[in-house]
């Protein structure tokens, strides 16, 4: 084992240490608990960056420990270019949410448990991206779900949270079960749980079996992506969850579904087997895009507007994956990252608006722009970003996704419709911005200044969005390397 390989499990072990410390240290104030959480998360961010040089040299880094030898299950993690992108996105989002929590009231009660659960949530996601063993993958996949359910249960808004959390759990678990069936079918057929071993062999399965597995994988992961009509858990969960948790849910957890689709059906099976699903994925993406945007246009609750915009944005990603072209998939991966940043920014803005006005009904809020110029600028950046305005990030990814759509063999009508559908995004985004920030200031009694602890991370995310949009080159090259490692050198 090479020396740097030992660093890899650090990404999963550090949060566990943090969790243990937080569970023992019950008297920790919110600041102390946050410090521990942020420190662990920051280290988890530094490790992949340290490993970057080795990754460039090796192509992928693997760490393996035997766990249940008589069932051929091991504790193995793999860092590849693909997982790197998702890992960094997820850790950065969690870090942002942790810092944002400091300015919020969330987590003042039981702060040690709050930060412990945030760490576990993040651990679930980073484990999901790293796991190279299907058993381990599923454990992390469920950990992600359980931690988020608990966060909603304990710190969510209103009595309704119990029902919402239950619905969220059961609907998402249904998707997980479909994934589980496919994982175990693979495990049973080849007698190994190691994903890298499965990738080498899976294409030898009979074609019927392949089709069945791809179907189950795609539907299972689409539940997590909240593709219409599997999105029913999303709006409620996003609305009821406290704002930092909503940020992680929307910006990071949704993208795990994308990762799953890339990592399992796409990496395991030859493209010919996936081809029959291409049209359906594009179609589902289109419907999801339009549906999410239309509902967002009709919603009055500002948190729900942004929540439905997630359904719409995930539609683009599925569309890009469905094109099965290099450009489309690269666009999807980029879209995951940009969407994470934009969505985090928008939810942070919404959080500030709610905390200042105490209102969530869009009809009761207006004209905040003149009073809070910084917030207004951040919101404008977010709104323009989500509408796909150059040079903000989403322009790049949408360009690639639509390019992929035209490249694919499927009729261009579909792509043109998606392009036209994207206009709806502009409409709801501008409605959101216009109603809240322009016009007569409402409600009357408003605090003079925004909380500094909330506005600073928001500004930072806005700046980061502009930077990422202007310099997409490293991200693009990572995405290409990730795709090359899956598909070989295809264009």
């Amino acid at each position: 084992m090479k020396s740097y390989e030992i660093l890899l499990p650090g990404i999963t072990v550090l949060p566990i240490i943090g969790v243990v410390v937080l569970l023992i240290w019950r008297k920790a104030t919110k600041k102390q608990a946050a410090t521990i959480g942020i420190l662990c998360e920051a280290f988890a961010l530094i490790i992949p960056i340290i490993l970057l040089a080795a990754l460039r040299r090796e192509g992928s880094i693997l760490f393996t420990l035997p766990w249940i030898p008589n069932m051929q299950i091991s504790f193995s993690l793999e860092l590849s270019w693909l997982s790197l992108i998702f890992l960094l996105t997820e850790v950065l989002v969690t870090l942002t949410a942790m810092i944002y929590s400091l300015g919020e009231t969330t987590g003042e009660k039981y702060s040690n448990y709050y930060y412990a659960l945030l760490l576990l949530f993040s651990l679930g996601m980073s484990g999901t991206t790293l796991a190279d063993d299907v058993f381990l993958f599923y454990i992390f996949w469920e950990l992600m779900l359980i931690a988020s359910v608990l966060l909603i249960l304990i710190w969510g808004h209103g009595e309704i949270r119990f029902k919402v959390a239950l619905k969220y759990f059961i609907v998402t678990h249904l998707g997980s079960l479909m994934v589980l069936v496919s994982l175990i079918t693979l495990y049973v057929n080849f007698g190994t749980a190691s994903l890298s071993a499965l990738i080498l062999q899976a294409s030898t399965l009979p074609v019927n079996m392949q089709v069945f597995l791809i179907l189950f994988f795609i539907i299972g992961f689409s539940v997590k992506m909240a593709i219409f009509p599997l999105h029913i858990w999303l709006p409620d969960a996003h609305t009821v969850a406290p704002m930092p948790v909503t940020i992680i849910l929307a910006a990071a957890m949704l993208s795990m579904g994308t990762y799953g689709i890339l990592r399992f059906p796409f990496a395991l099976f030859p493209l010919e087997s996936i081809q029959p699903f291409a049209l359906w994925m594009m179609l589902a993406g289109l419907i999801s895009e339009v549906y999410g945007a239309l509902i967002a246009l009709a919603e009055k609750d500002i948190k729900r507007i942004i929540a439905y915009s997630s359904v719409s944005q995930m539609g683009y990603i599925l569309f890009g994956l469905g094109t099965l072209t290099a450009r489309g998939m690269q666009g999807s991966i980029l879209h995951v990252v940009y969407h994470a940043i934009v969505k985090a920014l928008l939810f942070m803005v919404v959080g500030i608006v709610i905390s200042m006005t105490g209102e969530r009904d869009i009809r009761k809020i207006s004209g905040l722009g003149s009073k809070f110029p910084i917030l207004c600028v951040c919101a404008a950046i977010g709104v323009l970003g989500i509408s796909g305005m150059p040079p903000l990030g989403i322009f790049n990814s949408e360009w690639l996704i639509f390019g992929g759509g035209f490249d694919s063999g499927v009729s261009i009508v579909l792509t043109v419709m998606t392009l036209i559908g994207s206009l709806l995004t502009v409409v709801y985004a501008l409605r959101f911005f216009g109603l809240i920030f322009i016009g007569e200031p409402k409600p009357e009694a408003l605090p003079v200044k925004t909380t500094r602890a909330l506005i600073i991370p928001t500004v930072a995310v806005a700046v980061f969005l502009i930077v990422e949009g202007l310099a997409p080159a490293p991200l693009m090259s990572w995405a290409i390397r990730g795709l090359t490692s899956i598909f070989g050198s295809f264009q």
Partner: protein, 495 residues
């Protein structure tokens, strides 16, 4: 040491201990706690004897003197096997924990004197059932277990329901043993033998009818749908500790005697497997669907127990139907983890009832604040039963999935579909109850008044519950040694 002595030792300790404890406690007017400690001592002795026996089994197998009474016709025939001893070790460990638990649980009952001997006798009956190798002894010992268990079920005779439940159990169980007696008649008529190893040599249609009778009798005792009607009444009204023993070990272990006997009496593996899988589906569906509408906590747990009997049968059924070792080991592993989790669930439910005086699920509200440790342990049990990863139940679920997907034909996939539906409904049943503990109380109850001091849960009850919860976590995170153990003993199910 002679093989005979080793084979008889555990049961002798139990039965001797049962009478001795009663006499000593009566004579010296011992307190409840003291008697519970004595019981624990006896059970620890039994455990040591069992472990010793387990290690001796490879030696005993080749030696005829392990057969107690082989030389005399109609004598008592005993033959220890690794599977039986493994199950008995689990039963004894659970027995130790519930004895400690009863040290506080029975403190309000003046008749504790007979309680512990009855627990010991129940265990002794179970133990002899697994060790005996002839049909007539099996019948007698089954009856003994039934009688001891039904007096335990009626132990809280102040409650009318307890008497009713016990009566129901007694009637139905006697029906089961009666059918078994009929089976013995068929076997004896055809072969003139009761000795299982000798019957094995000449199975014919009569012995097959006998096998069917035994299958039915044991199905009744295991609570297989549609013979499950006694289960909710019994587990819901017996003392919690007894419910833990019955639901965790006693009734489910009957499923492991079934193959040993039926296969020897000439039933084929495919027949047995078909029976187990078909009825497993009924169990899974009935258990999980009826679980949803329960208002009483222990009744809820009883229905979930019916569903789990189904999971066990499903695993075993795959094992027999398709000749897959994975299925058998899944069934046996599930037995181990369900014993631990179910006992934990019933004991925690017992603590709630002990301090709140109510079995109502609504009265769980606020328990998370007032009894944090118990509530946490109960949550571990529920989450484990729901099959949440990293708890013991998940590995079992994974094994069931992989066994049925390895079989891979339509029958097993349909059953797997039903299994998935059942686990999903199960989630919808377990989670609201888990959550309820952490919700603020709304109705009147002991947990309502925040000014009132929270009840301090006795250490006698907390210790076994905590231990079991740790075990659930431990088995979940390190399943490898347990799976090894299970794979070692599972071969004994196939004659």
């Amino acid at each position: 040491m002679s093989g005979l002595f080793i084979a008889v030792l555990p049961v002798s300790i139990l039965i001797g201990g049962a009478f001795l404890i009663y006499l000593v406690s009566r004579f010296f007017q011992l307190s409840n706690r003291f008697e519970s400690l004595l019981t624990v001592l006896v059970l620890i002795g039994t455990l040591v004897a069992l472990i010793f026996l387990y290690n001796q089994i490879p030696d005993l197998a080749g030696r005829p003197d392990a057969f107690f009474g082989l030389s005399t016709p109609g004598g008592i025939l005993w033959k220890p096997n690794a599977l039986g001893v493994f199950i008995l070790i689990i039963a004894t460990v659970i027995g130790i924990l519930i004895s400690v638990f009863s040290g506080e649980y029975l403190s309000r009952d003046p008749r504790y004197l007979v309680y512990y001997p009855l627990v010991l006798l129940t265990l002794a009956g179970l133990m002899s059932m697994f060790l005996s190798n002839d049909l007539f002894n099996l019948f007698l010992l089954t009856e003994m277990t039934t009688i001891a268990a039904s007096s335990l079920i009626a132990f809280q005779y102040q409650h009318e329901n307890a008497i009713k439940a016990s009566f129901k159990y007694l009637i139905m169980s006697s029906l089961g043993t009666m059918i078994m007696l009929l089976g013995i008649y068929f076997v004896y008529r055809s072969t003139g033998e009761m000795h299982l190893d000798r019957v094995l040599a000449s199975p014919d249609n009569f012995t097959r009818i006998g096998a069917a009778c035994f299958l039915m009798g044991f199905s009744l005792k295991a609570g297989v749908v549609p013979l499950h009607t006694w289960v909710p009444d019994v587990y819901g009204n017996a003392p919690s500790a007894v419910s833990g023993l019955l639901a965790g070990v006693l009734s489910k272990s009957m499923l492991f005697i079934v193959p040993v006997i039926c296969l020897r009496l000439g039933m084929t593996r495919v027949e047995l497997g078909t029976y187990l899988m078909v009825f497993a589906c009924f169990n899974m569906l009935v258990g999980s669907i009826r679980m949803l509408k329960q208002h009483l906590l222990r009744r809820f747990l009883s229905f979930s127990s019916i569903a789990q009997t189904g999971y066990l049968m499903f695993g075993l059924g795959i094992g027999f139907y398709y000749n897959l070792d994975q299925g058998l080991s899944a069934g046996l592993y599930l037995f181990l983890v369900i014993a631990v989790m179910k006992c934990l669930a019933f004991l925690s439910a017992g603590i709630f009832q002990f301090y709140s005086g109510s079995q109502d699920i609504e009265s769980l509200r606020g328990a998370g604040n007032r009894m944090p440790i118990t509530a946490f342990c109960f949550s571990v049990a529920l989450a484990g039963l729901a099959g949440i990863p990293l708890l013991a139940g998940f590995t079992g679920k994974w094994m069931i999935f992989s066994a049925s997907l390895a079989a891979g034909d339509l029958f097993s996939v349909i059953c797997l579909g039903i299994f998935m539906v059942s686990t999903l409904i199960g989630l919808a049943g377990y989670l609201p109850i888990l959550v309820k503990q952490y919700q603020p109380p709304t109705k009147a109850g002991i947990f309502l008044n925040p000014a009132e001091r929270a009840p301090r849960v006795s250490r006698w009850m907390l210790a076994p519950v905590t231990l079991l919860a740790i075990l659930v976590l431990f088995i979940g995170i390190f399943p490898a040694p347990w799976i090894n153990l299970v794979e070692q003993v599972m071969g004994w199910m196939l004659i």
